[in-house]
Amino acid sequence: QKLAASLNPAYALVEKKTAYKDATTYNNFYEFGTDKADPAVMAGSLKTRPWTVVIEGEVKKPVTLDLDSLLRLAPLEERIYRLRCVEGWSMVIPWIGYSLSHLLKKVEPTGNAKYVEFITLDDKKQMPGLRSPVLDWPYVEGLRMDEAMHPLALLTFGMYGEILPNQNGAPVRMSVPWKYGFKSAKSIVKIRLTKEQPRTAWNQSAPNEYGFYSNVNPQVDHPRWSQATERRIGEDGLFTRKRKTLMFNGYPEVASMYAGMDLKKFF
């Protein structure tokens, strides 16, 4: 199903886009199984309409929005972003959405709002992977308020000119391109603004391996592997060397948000 949007030239990355087939059959979405081939096979059971998203917490105007109201909230843009997975591979994906800041401004955050928490659907009937205790469900992710307000942080409804396929986090997900992929919550049902740093799923499960910030950083290795290089899916074949990973995944405009922070400590 097509989703109309015009390309935002500020984010029209001139890199080869990942093949649609690769981007939709190689997914980490544990709600539908832990193998990367699982989501494409299993996610048919996800019902993406009707769908509502609750926005609550430290806001003056909490609201529950259905998908159509969300889609109408701001003009949809196409943006071509790099996606770097914490596992050491990457893709280039044309997403469709708008900056999350549009939504956050609408609900008027209070002075206490320091973080934004994203909560994924938690329904065993639709998501068979929830039966295995690989994570403490529901999947929770989070951003600091300034990160969430950054124009790059994209509330995403589509990719490749179409609505999101279920396995890619339909009907609404985040795309936070300067952070490892798992920071971008999928199939979001609740967005909560909080005083305290959210207890995010991967950080809870292995705090020494997955930090709250998880900015793409070639200088900070994962405890079990190097993050200095990556393999671009569909491009870096078996007989090519892996490419160098870029600081903040090649989005230097976010660096000022971390000025003065020890990024080895706040990894």
């Binding site: 994570l135 499960s205 592997w225 569909g234």
Partner: protein, 208 residues
């Protein structure tokens, strides 16, 4: 069930060809561009899986031979063990070539930094002397006793291989498959402990 020389030759040929099928499948997939979005991952996991299958098959020879009374199975053990080494070599070559592009310093850093690779690497290195001493000539030169002692290394190698797999999956909390291997290998090893204990008790009671 006894096997004639001729029957044995037929069985060996069939098993030899069957054991090559996983490699043939992998090559076929590569030529048809069916290795998925991340071919490196596919090949690494596939060769790793087959190494574990062959290691388990090698360990299963003695228990099955004893339980079913198929003494001829023993004559397949060397081939199965060598195939385990063969797939382990492909697994290691994938890591060295496609992952690190023969950059030995980079590979070595990886081996030291990541415990799951350290233990996998050690298991692979420990397989080398077993493969090298698998010929009849080497058995003769070493003498049966010493040869047997050396080849008991397999009782460390296989659990190390399972641990390698377990640690690889542990970070992602995805342990169902490594646990399956752990149970299987545990059973195969415990059977040996049990038989040994039984044999020594029988020997004692006969001595009395």
């Amino acid at each position: 069930m006894a096997m004639s020389q001729r029957q044995m030759a037929v069985i060996k040929t069939i098993v030899f060809i069957l054991c090559l099928l996983p490699l043939a499948r992998l090559v076929g997939f590569a030529m048809l561009d069916q290795l998925g979005a991340n071919p490196l991952e596919f090949i690494t996991r596939n060769t790793g899986d087959w190494t574990l299958y062959f290691l388990c098959a090698t360990l299963a020879v003695t228990p099955i031979r004893k339980i079913a009374g198929w003494s001829w199975l023993l004559r397949l053990r060397r081939m199965l063990g060598l195939y385990a080494f063969f797939y382990a070599s492909l697994h290691f070559l994938t890591f060295l070539w496609f992952d690190h592009f023969f950059d030995l310093a980079e590979m070595w850093a990886d081996v030291l930094k990541r415990p799951f690779i350290t233990v996998g690497f050690l298991a692979f290195v420990a397989l080398l002397p077993l493969a090298l001493t698998s010929t009849n000539g080497m058995i003769r030169r070493l003498g049966g006793k010493r040869w047997q002692l050396l080849h008991r290394l397999i009782y460390l190698i296989v659990p190390a291989g399972v641990l390698h797999y377990y640690w690889m999956k542990a970070g992602k909390h995805d342990l169902s498959q490594p646990l399956m291997f752990a149970v299987l290998v545990g059973v195969l090893l415990l059977m040996r402990v049990w038989w040994r204990w039984f044999a020594s008790r029988n020997a004692l009671s006969q001595g009395r």
